[in-house]
Assembly symmetry: C2
Homo-oligomer: 343 residues x 2
């Protein structure tokens, strides 16, 4: 059993759902959305790529989405007298809302999760309690979205930094509920299935054991989690955080695992922020098992990575990566692990 | 039969090979490399990613590579009195040389191809004759590199524009001779093989026929080639150029196909340069069949794409693309095709 945060659902003026998640129960979250906004025209479709048998999302309406607004027009800050934002309340802890410019529509769904009402904060600045609340919220949303008929995989992630195309600075993450299993996940399932057929063993347990045995690439570890730079890291700075127990998704984590995870996440994000002297752009991606298949094959793990390769240099995906899928990493994983341990 | 350009090989001061390709025979290309440069320490290794069964290149020495030098220190310009570059001659047409900072080493190989000695030019500015010479050069190099024992696939490409991380402005492309078949190519081979088993037909012929029949996404076409925005385009601006004949690589093209290809390439690159009013960054990627397997399954094609989605906006690969392999395209392929036809 895990404790349950307070959860209050409201509807925004255009019909979208918004959920407040609070540590304390009993806070009044009834403030109404006073804006007169109607539904936007959403044109999103899935197209099949016949050359590789994968789905591509074509979402023409997103071209018009909000792009780096000035901070006094941030749509994810709380509403204030005279200025109504996406969030009607005058303050909040964690908020989840349906994306106004979704990439995925029925049966898929795109949600935004606001980590704090402090516009200038970063994930690494949050308190342990807040990170724990975020984890409980992501677990809640994973369970809820997994229950939608037609949703095949739930993907919680955070894009951080203008260098990777973030269009809103307010600290937030997102959840994509895909109506198909994603290409990377399908690939991992194929490999994990073949590994089990060949050896009788779990692929993720074997990778974790090999990294723990090698030691050279481990960054931090605890009773229930280990973080390491993978031997074959694709990105200049890349860390994988594995639970020691084979669980399919965030909803399956117990209280003890969530508590330690909150600490280790803060530790890792702090190391990322300090590595090059100033905070770097990153993507934090939660790999979860699909909702219906392969739940005994794919272990939950966080993949935290940055395209920054030096204080003033970014790694770009050029011909080899973008066209052929072959990554070239200019940083040596063992060296990156050492620098992260020292950071 | 295709005509053969003049081809002169020399060795640079550090032992690397350099080849001049000239339209006319008899030009003196004997100028020696006068620099006192020794071999650089190259630390490149292939690492296996156990989660997806793919190879990643770790190349620590590349961190020190030449980065956006001022134009009077360009290493790809011809040498001049008092300043020796990578190219000893005082002028040249097309030059191929081994990369001083290679991602791949024995049995792989990385080559640079200089398109012109005019530092300020772009591919779209070249003459028909020069593009034809470049194609003959790429065909020559494809054949030569394919003959190296251990080389599994030859990939000619051009990265253009600082926005995608180009480190040298001089107009040039590259050739990667991979010691393995790349992930995207393996995937296309699997799909093409399954398509042949299911239908008895060729996947690329069927895709081409479907695009020609649909018409809406065709940009330009000729007797031997058709260029279209694929129905499931991943990038904001993406064009695929297919030969009508099923050939595995550039070396297999005949004289008539090369002549028309030179015209169509110039036409396409010109449309890319005009689309948003100013030249945009792009990747031009030649997909060729592997050197030893699947040569009857994978048809040669050019994939030309840009991450630019508006005159002042770039598409970034964020969480969905980078972590899950799910691309979201904000531009609708039929609309992009129309704009390219009008450009």
């Amino acid at each position: 059993m895990t404790r349950e945060p307070a959860r209050t659902a409201i509807r925004l003026a255009d019909g979208r759902e918004l959920l407040y998640f609070d540590e304390r129960h009993g806070i009044d979250r009834s403030a109404a959305d006073l804006r007169s906004i109607g539904p936007i025209a959403v044109h999103s479709e899935l197209r099949h790529d016949p050359l590789v048998d994968e789905w591509v999302i074509v979402a023409g309406h997103r071209q018009e989405r909000t792009h780096l607004p000035p901070s006094d027009e941030c749509p994810l800050c709380p509403s204030r007298p005279g200025y109504s934002t996406e969030i009607p309340a005058p303050d909040y802890e964690v908020v989840v809302l349906e994306n106004r410019f979704p990439s995925l529509i029925d049966p898929g769904r795109c949600e935004v999760i606001c980590f704090t009402d402090d516009h200038g904060a970063a994930f690494a600045d949050l308190s342990h309690e807040r990170v724990r609340l975020i984890l409980d919220t992501l677990a809640d949303r994973t369970k809820a979205l997994s229950g939608i008929s037609g949703v095949a995989q739930v993907f919680p992630f955070e894009n951080r930094g203008e260098a990777i195309g973030v269009t809103l600075h307010h600290p937030h993450g997102q959840l994509y509920a895909y109506p198909f299993v994603t290409p990377r996940t399908l690939r991992m399932l194929d490999v994990a299935r073949a590994h089990r057929d060949d050896t009788g063993r779990d692929l993720f347990a074997d990778v974790l054991a090999a990294e723990e045995h090698a030691e050279a690439r481990v960054v931090v570890s605890g009773e229930n989690w280990t973080a390491f730079v993978p031997e074959s890291a694709r990105w200049p700075v890349e860390v994988h955080l594995y639970p020691h127990r084979g669980v399919p998704d965030l909803a399956a984590l117990d209280d003890v695992e969530r508590e330690e995870l909150a600490d280790l996440q803060l530790d890792l994000f702090g190391r990322f922020a300090r590595l090059f002297g100033s905070p770097m752009p990153y993507i934090a991606a939660w790999h979860q098992a699909p909702t219906r298949v392969g739940r005994d094959l794919l272990r939950l793990h966080l993949r935290l990575f940055s395209m920054q390769r030096a204080p003033d240099r970014l790694k770009f995906l050029a011909g080899s990566e973008s066209a052929m899928g072959v990554f070239i990493n200019d940083l040596v994983p063992e060296e990156t692990a050492r620098r992260l341990r020292d950071a």
